[in-house]
């Protein structure tokens, strides 16, 4: 979408080189995380965890632990209200998790009891003294096994352990396949992935005799934590304060209740003292949640000329022990599996199955990395099968601005076509590659916040309040949660641009439910668009109030426009005529009999379909070198072509895209979570491999200029969506290097060696 030059605003702050507003706190060690919080009289909590994947809790005897000097309390499920909670609050059957279970445990590592003591060491020693009598039950660990009639029942009354099913369909899939010249089907498996936030789950809870609870907690949504904790404790939301000022990473793993927040609160309420619970790295691996492992079956029909006819996909996912955000991941994987193409006929069926393993949930990309690993590799193989140019085949079927995903979504901005052109040039420039080296790419798209409200919030999805002080400094209160993605800076930039002041004039207050309006928080790439819109509206409200006084003071003809830029209030057509911003604030304050100027803004998406108000688009290219003897993969180079609408924070955008690449590449070939009988075999940073500095290739970024009409200043998602294409791009690079098709992710060395062996045998047999 373009606007005429007269109407188009010249941007003064947006997309300029701005330091992160909490940068100095972070580079000087001043930033204080929940992990660092220490309150007077604070006790330390530790959690006793189930060694069994599936067992009834018969009895818990804590008497010996309580007798240990320094132990102040031991709590079990019986000390709680026993509320089965979940983030899908609208659907009681999906609220299935008691953080301290009363009757049975469903995965290894599930909390069973918690201790508070005067030191962490004493609390840990006390865990060994708690005697738990279990009746061990048969466990089941794989979804196909768990769906069998004879499989053990994990949740009472849930038939065949099927937790959630999701169906998406448009067009006429059967007819679509009839029209196809070529049909291909493949089975894939995409594994789990640990969020591996640098700050493990951490909470400090302090319950005081007034009946008020204050919680410092490392999370992605202070509001969700407030509401969920109030629910499980039987308290009013207003009596629960959640503070999440600095958060050491989230990536989709920190917006559900965890054992740290729950047990610290239960212990603090029992003792009326602050209690701190922080997870060890091992606890963070075995007892939080993970990216959802998915078995994918994909069938695709296509014409000889490359026109897409029909696509059908079926997913069976390993849900682990509880629902969490897994229900959303199951839906979104099915929707984004269609991206970024115009399938006239599309059908998806997803089944999420309970097993006795670590629950699976949302993780950066929210089901889409799995979807793209399968879709984009199969498309590459189809192009090869039919002798089509893989870029032109995709381009021909790609989304464009103005396209409607039938009955689902409207695409108002889309830079996909240019991304294909950029990728084509990059690949062409590489020329002929040496042996065992290949280039692969993958396309993807992603949402800018979800429209769904399974949380059942009565509030606007985002809200902002802006207050102008007498000295023309600005207080911006937002409910957004800053988890390192830079949302505070993004909102400060939007506020500065809208009010016409400088970023350093804005003080952002976020991540504190006592002082900030409710906001759903940092997940699903929602804050830039949603909180950004709320922030912009709040600032426009304040600005309009101020300008009333400027119009009156300047006595202008009504046809003249006034604006504020760089702290200068002026006539748009004659920018030299005006007054300083602080002077206007003084006038307005006097004119309002001393009332402060307060602007309010909110945003909830309406009439934007079922999924998201706007979609980002991206192509990821990678060049890899593979050692055919060992199967070792080396990333040599990469190219990102990315459309996030109008970038707001230049530095932040680069950081988000580079970071997404590293996490997504790790998912593609390193980050593997092997389970044996429900036990994670590598719950530490020695054995769980991820991208380190020496594994990162260069990450040049080509930003595609589009304008998203629904977003603040034309902005949409950046940073989560780029997690989607990379694993598939690595798979495609391996395909072009070695001619083998990798159907399991992460792609591990032995799989490449085996595939090469199989290929050689086939070629031998063929001769």
């Amino acid at each position: 979408m373009t606007t005429t030059s007269l109407a188009k605003e010249k941007l003064h702050v947006i997309n300029t080189h701005v330091h992160n507003i909490d940068g100095i706190a972070k580079v000087t060690g001043r930033a204080t995380y929940s992990f660092d919080v220490k309150l007077p009289g604070m006790l330390y909590g530790k959690i006793l965890r189930s060694p069994h994947p599936h067992a009834k809790i018969i009895n818990i005897d804590a008497s010996k632990a309580l007798a240990l000097h320094g132990v102040k309390a031991v709590v079990t499920g019986k000390d709680t209200l026993g509320v089965k909670q979940g983030i899908w609050r609208r659907y009681s059957e999906l609220c299935d998790e008691q953080i301290l279970p009363v009757e049975k445990v469903r995965y290894i590592g599930e909390p069973v009891a918690a201790v508070a003591a005067i030191t962490e060491e004493i609390a840990e020693a006390a865990l060994d003294l708690i005697e738990v009598e279990y009746e061990v039950l048969e466990g089941v660990y794989e979804p196909y096994e768990a769906m069998k009639k004879e499989a053990p029942e994990i949740h009472e009354g849930v038939e065949r352990n099927i937790n959630v099913t999701r169906h998406i369909e448009w067009g006429d899939v059967e007819t679509g396949f009839e029209q196809a010249d070529y049909i291909r089907e493949d089975h894939f498996f995409c594994g789990g992935q640990a969020h591996m936030c640098m700050e493990t789950r951490s909470a400090v809870a302090s319950y005081t005799p007034e009946g008020k609870l204050t919680i410092y907690h490392s999370n992605q949504s202070a509001y969700y934590m407030q509401a969920l904790m109030a629910g499980v404790l039987g308290m009013k939301e207003g009596n629960v304060r959640v503070i999440a000022q600095y958060v050491g990473g989230g990536f989709g793993g920190k917006f559900e209740l965890d054992g740290a927040i729950f047990t610290s609160c239960i212990l603090s309420m029992k003792l009326h003292r602050p209690v701190k619970v922080i997870y060890t790295r091992e606890e963070d691996f075995i007892a939080t949640k993970r990216r959802t492992p998915m078995h994918y079956w994909v069938r695709t029909g296509i014409k000889k000329d490359g026109t897409f006819c029909a696509r059908e996909a079926r997913v069976v996912s390993n849900g682990g022990a509880y629902t969490g955000m897994g229900a959303t991941a199951l839906y979104l994987t099915g929707f984004f599996h269609s991206f970024p193409y115009r399938w006239e006929n599309y059908r998806y069926d997803g089944y999420r199955v309970y097993t006795n393993t670590l629950p699976s949930t949302s993780m950066r990309g929210f089901g889409a990395p799995q979807a793209m690993f399968c879709s984009e590799q199969q498309l590459e193989w189809i192009a090869a099968d039919l002798g089509l140019d893989p870029i032109e085949m995709r381009r021909k079927n790609g989304h464009y601005a103005g396209y409607e995903v039938p009955g689902q979504a409207f695409i108002a901005s889309c830079g996909l076509d240019e991304a294909f052109t950029v990728m084509k040039e990059w690949i062409a420039k590489k020329g002929k590659l040496p042996a065992n080296r290949g280039i692969g790419f993958s396309a993807a798209g992603f949402m800018s916040g979800g429209i769904f409200n399974w949380f059942d919030t009565p509030y606007s999805f985002s809200s902002a309040v802006v207050t102008i002080n007498q000295d023309a400094t600005v207080e911006l209160h937002i409910g957004a949660t800053e988890i390192g993605q830079g949302s505070n800076t993004t909102m400060a930039i939007i506020a500065a641009e809208t009010l016409g002041v400088k970023v350093e004039d804005i003080k952002v207050h976020s991540g504190d439910t006592d002082h900030c309006p409710a906001d759903l928080g940092a997940w699903g790439s929602r804050q830039t668009l949603m909180t950004g819109n709320a922030t912009k509206r709040a600032c426009e409200d304040a600005k309009a109030q101020l300008l009333e006084f400027a119009y009156a003071k300047m006595g202008l003809n009504i046809v003249y426009d006034l604006d504020i830029k760089d702290r200068w209030v002026h006539i748009v057509a004659r920018p030299e005529r005006g007054m300083p911003f602080d002077e206007l604030v003084t006038i307005a304050l006097r004119g309002k009999d001393g009332q402060r100027i307060i602007g309010r803004g909110f945003y909830t998406p309406h009439r934007k379909g079922m999924i998201s108000p706007a979609y980002s688009y991206m192509l990821q290219g990678v060049e890899v070198d593979i050692d055919p003897e060992t199967g070792k993969i080396e990333l040599l180079d990469s190219l990102t072509a990315h459309d996030c609408g109008q970038p707001i924070n230049h530095l932040g955008l680069i950081g988000q895209l580079e970071g997404a690449f590293s996490m997504a590449a790790g998912y593609g070939y390193l980050e593997y979570m092997p389970y044996e009988d429900g036990k994670l075999m590598n719950p530490n940073l020695v054995d769980y491999k991820m991208i380190r500095a020496t594994e990162m290739p260069e990450t040049p970024i080509h930003d595609i200029d589009t304008y998203e009409p629904e977003g603040p200043y034309g902005a949409k998602e950046a940073g989560e969506g780029l997690t989607n294409p990379t694993a598939a791009a690595i798979g495609n690079a391996i395909f072009h290097a070695l001619g083998v098709q990798m159907k399991e992710c992460p792609i591990r060395p032995h799989m490449i060696v085996d595939a090469l062996k199989e290929k050689a045998e086939k070629e031998k047999a063929g001769k």
Binding site: H19, N20, D22, G23, I24, A25, K26, V27, T28, G29, R30, A31, T32, Y33, F35, D36, K38, M196, C197, M198, E199, T200, Y246, V247, G248, G249, G250, F251, T280, R281, E282, I483, G484, Q485, G486, L651, G652, I654, G655, Q656, E658, G659, A660, F661, S662, M663, N684, L685, V686, M690, I691, R692, A693, T694, M696, E698, T699
Partner: protein, 161 residues
Amino acid sequence: MEKKIITLRVNKQDYELYINPKTLLVEAIRDYIGLTGTKRGCETVSCGACSVLVGDLAVKACSVLAMQCDGMEITTSEGLEDNGKLAPIQKAFLDEGAYQCGFCTSGMLMTTSGLLKENANPTKQEVKEAIEGNICRCTGYNSIVRAVERVAKGMYKEESL
């Protein structure tokens, strides 16, 4: 075990501590002295979040006992600045956006400071190898490498004199 008295000189300040000999340097810094800029991210000496300088050498503070550092000069991220004036490496991190959540940042700053003390003009590969033992889950490392290159190029020289 019998407690011992040791002296750690942290950020040019002497701290006399009465500690269990098993206390790790990271525990002494965080829990006894109360400087929480230094983080902990694992129990296996794998993540580098607790990196500090012992003398001029970057060391993971979970890999040594506080006792072993008795009398030694230790620098943490809080000690990089000079009364509010940021060190070049801190400025470079700001200019490159070489941090996001910030939890690995102190460790990254100290590891790269150690590298620059040892080698004022490292190659890109040398920077990458120096921070290989430090995990950053947010940035993908390249901005950190660029930040070190900025300092090595002398971009903050005049300001820091």
